[in-house]
Subunit: 414 residues, 2 copies
C-alpha cells in the first residue's frame, strides 16, 4: 500500500498536511491558525470572533455577495470558528472543486475586504451570539468553569462581552486581522481524494507568499479555582467540575484518556451506570479530557433537579475518588473495543480526518495516522492507567454550579 | 457495477433493506418501528419513551449489566429514540461484529426483561429529560409550535409531562411493549460492509418469528393553530413559525424542499443574507421542511433580542411573502450544487445511509438510492418550484414566541 500521508512546509512557513483516501469522492480542507481568544486585548474581548465574522464578508476580487454565491456553487459549506487558542476555517466538497475552494480560502485569509459598511451588522451578530449563550445554561456553566480553572487568558471564551464587543472599531478589526492572520504555526490539512503533486503546487502558489506576522505571547495570570455558584431560576441545576490533568501533547495523555473513558465513555461507563442508570439522578452526565496547548484538565458535567443536585454532586465526587483507586481489566477491554471502533468510523470520513490532522499538527506538531492511534490504544494496560491515576489524584476540583441554590463540595475522606 | 441495494420481507412481516458499501470497514444498522408518541394514551403521555428507556436494561439471556458490557465489547454505540410517529434503535460498528449486534437487537425488541426493580430509576431519567427541555428554550418553543400546528396527536412530543410520567406503572410498560413492538410496518436497514446472503439468513433466523401486534390508529382532533406567546424572562426572544406544506411521500415534496432550500440552506440563502448578514437581527435563523406521515409543514426558527424581536418577525414574514413570488435561476443553481455535494458526503457514511434507508422505507415504503435523489434534484426547475409556490401560498402561519414580551403577527398586504 502506498503511503497515504504527506507533510510539507511552504516557503511562507505554512505547513501543509494531507491524508489520501482514494476510495471517496469528497475532499475536506481545514485551515488552523494559532490565534484565538487568548490574543484579544482585555478591553476588546471578542475581537478574534468579530474578525472571523468580518473576513467572511468578501475577499480578493469577490464582493460579499459573490463570496457566498461562489462557495455555494462549489457546494462548500465553509465554517469559520474561533476557540481559545486557535481560529479555523473548514469545509468539505466534491473532490474536483478543491482548487477553486482553496483560491477562495487564500483570499479570505490574506485579502479580506472587511467592509466598513457591514461592521454594525457583524457586531449585531456577535451580540446575538452572547445573548444566545445566556439561554444555553449547560454551555454557560461549562464556559464559567474553564475560565475559573485555567490561568487567564487560557480559560477565556471567544465571544467576549457586550461592553467589549461594543467598543471594537473598524480599525481594530483591520489591525487584528493584519497582525494575527499569518502562516507561522498555521496548518492547512486536506483529507480525501486529491493528487498530492497538484495540490502541493496549488497551495504553494496560493499561500507561498503569505506574509509573516508577529504573535506576541499573552500575559498569564493565576487561575482562580475554588467554587462558584451562579444563581439562576433555571429548571435544572447544572454542575461542572474540573480536575488537573495533562495536556494533549504529553506522553501520559493517553493514560488520562483511558481513565476518563472508563469513567464516562458509553452506556457501560461508571458515570452512566452509577449516576444515571442505578440512581436516576440525571439525564445527562459525562466527563472528558480538555486541553489548552500547555495544560490539561479532566472536566465533568451533569444536569439535574435542584432537589437531587447535592446527591448528584456527592455521587460524582465519590466516583472520582473510586476512579483514583484504579480501573479493572474488563472496563479497559470494553473501552479499547469502543475506541477502536470509533477510529474506524473516523477513518471513513474526509471531514473528520481533515479536522483531526489539523488538530494533530496544532497540538503535537505532526500528524498521527489512525494506525498510530490504534497502537497507542492497544498499548494501554491497567498498570499504566492505574500508575497514572496514583500520580494524579482527583483532589481539589474547580467547581461551578448554576441553578436555584448553591451546593456543598464535600471531598469525603480521601 | 453489481446492484448494491437489497430489499426483502421476512416471514414475520419485518422488512429488511440494505445498501452495500464494500469500500468501508464499518457497518451500521437501524431498526425503525411505526409506533411513537402518537400511540401514548392521554393519561400516560411519555409511555413510549419510558418503554424505550426500559427495554435497554437487559434482554434475552443478558442482564442489564451484561447487555451494556457486551455492546461496548462489540464497539457498538447503540442509541434508542422515540419520535412522534416512530421508535428506532441504531448503531454503527466494525463489520465483523454485526451478527452479534443483531442478536442483541433481536433480544431487545422481542425479549426485554423490563426489570421492575429499575422502574423508578428509569422514571427519574424520564423526569430529568422533561426538566432539561425546560432549560432548552429554542427546542421548547419549537415543540410548542409542532403541537399547535398539527392535528393532535401528530404534534405531540415524546417525553410527556411530569404528571403523566408519574402515573405510569410497571404493568403499563410491559403491556405497551408487548402490544406495540411488532414487525408490521417495521424496517431493519443495514448499510456498509456485509455479505447479503449471510445477513439475510441471520436476520430471518433472529426476526423471522417476531410475533405480530395490532396497531390501533390514534384518534385525531383538530389543530389549534393561531398564535401563542410563552412568557419567559429569557435573554432572547425565540420565534417559531409553521406554514402548511406537503408530506415527504408527496410527489411535490421535492418542490417544497427546493423552495425552502433557497430560503434557508447555506450562507447565500435568503434568510441568512437578509436576516443575519444584512440586518444583524440574529445569530441563528433557519427554515426546514417537517413532515408527519400524512401532513407536511414548512417551519422556521429565529432567536433574537427582545428589542429586535418584532422587526425580526416582520422581516421573516416579508421574506416568506417574497418567496411566494418565486425563486431565481442563480439561487436554484447554487442550491443544486449544495444538495448534490451533501449527497456525496452522505453516500460515504454507513451511519448516515442506514438512517436514510430506514427513513425512506418508513415514509416512502421503499428505499431510494442516492442516484435517484440526485436525479430528483436535477429535475428541479424554477418553473416547477414557482408553480408549487403559487399553489401553496404562505399565509396564516402558526406562530409561537417565547420570551419577555408577545409580538404582533403582521401579515402585510399579501
Amino acid at each position: 500500500m502506498p503511503d497515504v500521508h504527506f507533510q510539507t512546509e511552504l516557503t511562507s512557513g505554512l505547513t501543509l498536511v494531507a491524508e489520501s483516501m482514494d476510495w471517496v469522492e469528497s475532499v475536506a480542507m481545514s485551515l488552523l491558525m494559532p490565534v484565538g481568544a487568548i490574543n484579544d486585548p482585555e478591553d476588546h474581548l471578542g475581537l478574534a470572533n468579530f474578525a472571523c465574522e468580518m473576513v467572511q464578508r468578501g475577499c480578493g476580487n469577490r464582493s460579499s455577495r459573490q463570496f457566498v454565491d461562489d462557495l455555494e456553487n462549489l457546494g462548500v459549506d465553509l465554517s469559520g470558528s474561533v476557540a481559545n487558542g486557535h481560529t479555523s476555517f473548514s469545509g468539505a466538497m466534491v473532490a474536483e472543486n478543491l482548487p477553486t475552494a482553496l483560491e477562495i480560502l487564500a483570499d479570505l485569509i490574506q485579502r479580506p475586504h472587511l467592509p466598513e459598511d457591514q461592521l454594525e451588522d457583524a457586531r449585531q451578530v456577535c451580540f446575538h451570539e452572547i445573548h444566545s449563550l445566556e439561554d444555553d445554561l449547560p454551555q454557560k456553566a461549562m464556559l464559567n468553569l474553564r475560565q475559573r480553572h485555567y490561568p487567564a487568558p487560557y480559560g477565556r471564551n471567544a465571544i467576549g462581552q457586550m461592553e467589549t464587543v461594543s467598543s471594537i472599531s473598524h480599525a481594530d478589526v483591520q489591525r487584528y486581522q493584519a497582525e494575527h492572520y499569518g502562516p507561522k504555526g498555521a496548518v492547512l490539512a486536506i483529507a480525501g481524494k486529491f493528487d498530492w503533486d497538484e495540490i502541493r503546487s496549488k497551495v504553494e502558489q496560493l499561500f507561498g507568499e503569505w506574509p509573516e506576522v508577529g504573535q506576541p505571547a499573552p500575559v498569564e495570570s493565576p487561575a482562580v479555582r475554588g467554587y462558584e455558584h451562579v444563581a439562576s431560576d433555571s429548571s435544572q441545576t447544572h454542575i461542572c467540575l474540573a480536575f488537573d490533568g495533562v495536556p494533549y501533547h504529553d506522553n501520559e495523555y493517553i493514560q488520562a484518556r483511558g481513565a476518563v473513558g472508563v469513567m464516562s465513555d458509553g452506556v457501560s461507563s461508571r458515570l452512566f451506570t452509577e449516576v444515571r442508570e442505578k440512581r436516576g439522578l440525571c439525564y445527562t452526565v459525562g466527563a472528558h479530557c480538555h486541553s489548552t496547548r500547555t495544560q490539561g484538565a479532566i472536566m465533568c458535567y451533569a444536569g439535574t433537579t435542584s432537589e437531587r443536585a447535592q446527591e448528584t454532586l456527592d455521587v460524582i465526587l465519590d466516583e472520582f475518588r473510586k476512579l483514583g483507586e484504579g480501573i479493572h481489566q474488563d472496563e479497559l477491554d470494553r473501552l479499547k473495543a469502543r475506541v477502536k471502533s470509533g477510529l474506524i468510523m473516523q477513518q471513513e470520513s474526509s471531514g473528520a480526518r481533515s479536522g483531526a490532522l489539523a488538530g494533530d499538527y496544532f497540538f503535537y506538531g505532526r500528524i498521527r495516522p489512525v494506525d498510530e492511534l490504534r497502537a497507542l490504544v492497544d498499548g494501554l494496560t491497567c498498570e499504566t492507567v492505574n500508575s497514572f491515576l496514583r500520580d494524579h489524584p482527583f483532589n481539589q476540583p474547580t467547581t461551578v454550579t448554576l441553578g436555584p441554590d448553591p451546593l456543598e463540595v464535600r471531598l469525603g475522606d480521601s
